[in-house]
Symmetry: C2
DNA sequence: ACTTAGTATCGGTAAAAGCGATATGTTTGG
DNA sequence: CCAAACATATCGCTTTTACCGATACTAAGT
């Protein structure tokens, strides 16, 4: 009754568009998928696909079942992932990957505590863009990511929000925007915007283009440098801008419109295969208090 | 691989304490449960139960698997519940059950809108304690509950928080507490407290006894009446106390300690068998904006 | 009309779930 | 200390389910 395989056949059919294609994806023959769907329809006492045309299309009942099927399969995948952690082998080396905009000083504060609890474990830090970090996590390495919240986080990753980092609008002291108070977003469009872009060409979901005239850099310190040199305005995390602002080289643009000053959410990410291991739990626990 | 039945056998064993008892609960024979656990152990590549003694006891690996197994089975149950709503029979009559402390005026504001969308559906309102409402919901009637958040909500119920109701400390004008400003909770212990208790003897999780001298009533209007008559002090929702305060018969005790003035969370509850039906979704949607 | 890609159904095989009987191990209590 | 009571593990056997491959049929494009 409502076996995992039936539901796999169901969502595979929805995603591929046909029973045959679903069968190919699942490595079964078409008749098996057909049967599974039929059994599922009997269990549900409802028709899930409209079969008049060449390709089956979801009925209303099918659409309503789909999210529940997805949820169950996700949970099933999570269970399978977690099982690998049952053997409880504390890895000898774990990596913490930071988005470049995250203040390292905050994160490094936990090193001592972690080493005290797990003295035999080697720690490695690396810096990368959020998207690169998500990419690294696909491989289920013993890696914990600390990134700005992304909209699309794969289902096999566990994540939780641990705080926020404040972003503001900055220009060089010498820049023509520096004197004025921006009353609207339109005044920004008249000047070049300096923006982050990750190494792989995808652009992160939380960076937003405002000006039509854009110049990309691949990390915040380049961005800061470019801003200092007067090439345009940029959003920067407060801790990145802080020093230059103190030195009077950089100015925060006072903003009359609300949205431009915002708190970017910071998430901790771990692969489900790891997130049950004690050392990863401890690490999450420690990271909760750093921001 | 990781079939539903194996996991059912697993949690049944954990909950009943033995394979035999689990088999009895599941309506199977003992050897089947035994086999399921063995297969599960092979799949997990870990021993889940310590079998030295008479009763099997969970190993570490077993304990770590358990929450995942629970989660998957809950999701499975949810799916089975939801399937019954696939036939999409909009019920001809639905009931909205309110905790007595919830302001009816707020809830009744949605009647018009709901009737406009579902003119053929008859509405019924009833008032009961939170625990009684949870009890009613067990039967999967077409019922929506609006209650103060309870700690223990059964897994087959869907719920969401829709806002808060403000509770304060009240006494009659004539009461000896009326003049003074309570500096500490201790001064309250010297007087009789008037408290809610539901019809069934259980006491709700969010009511808290402060004074050793307590008098119970089973709804907020009795409580108000008793308070007005000077029998003691009580926590009352602002909307219940409002009229008597205006009339000068009741006084809100100014509170120097923070915790006594608090926002009670209000939840909407529906049985999973119903929560997917369009009319129940609409109802939830409407209830989100009333507080 | 003919090809292509898909679905439904059938018969047969292999795997899995189920049962009942039995051997064995662990507690409890006389 | 032995026996009764209760558990678990394993075996042979039956039933159910999953799967495959072959075949007949249907929809869509050329």
């Amino acid at each position: 009754m409502f076996g995992i395989e039936q539901l796999q056949a169901f969502v595979a059919t929805v995603e591929t568009g046909s029973f045959s294609a679903a069968a190919r994806r699942l490595g079964k023959v078409q008749s098996v998928v057909s049967q599974h769907i039929m059994n599922l329809e009997i269990d549900c006492n409802a028709t899930l696909f409209e079969r008049s045309g060449r390709y089956p299309t979801l009925t209303n009942a099918g659409s309503r079942l789909l999210p529940h099927a997805h949820a169950l399969l996700n949970q099933h995948q999570r269970l399978k992932n977690s099982v690998q952690a049952l053997s409880d082998i504390t890895p000898s080396e774990i990596t913490i990957a930071l988005d470049e905009g995250i203040p390292f000083k905050a994160v490094s504060s936990i090193i001592g505590e972690l080493q005290q609890i797990y003295p035999q474990v080697t720690l490695e830090f690396l810096s990368a863009s959020s998207l690169d970090i998500i990419d690294l996590l696909k491989k289920a390495l013993p890696l914990t990511g600390v990134i700005f919240s992304e909209l699309n986080i794969p289902t096999y990753l566990d994540y939780e929000c641990i705080g926020t980092v404040c972003f503001d609008l900055y220009v060089a002291k010498s820049h023509s925007l520096s004197g004025q108070t921006s009353k609207s977003i339109d005044s920004l469009r008249l000047h070049r915007q300096l923006l982050i872009r990750s190494k792989n060409t995808q652009t992160s979901s939380f960076q937003l283009k405002i000006s039509p005239d854009i110049l990309y850099a691949d990390n915040y310190f380049l961005l800061l440098e470019l801003t200092l040199q007067g090439h345009g305005w940029s959003f920067l995390p407060a801790h990145v801008a802080h020093e230059a602002v103190q030195a009077g080289e950089l100015v925060k643009l006072p903003m009359e419109f609300e949205k431009m000053h915002w708190q970017a959410n910071v998430d901790v990410l771990q692969h489900q295969k790891n997130s049950d291991l004690p050392i990863f739990k401890t690490l999450r626990q420690l990271l909760r208090n750093i921001l």
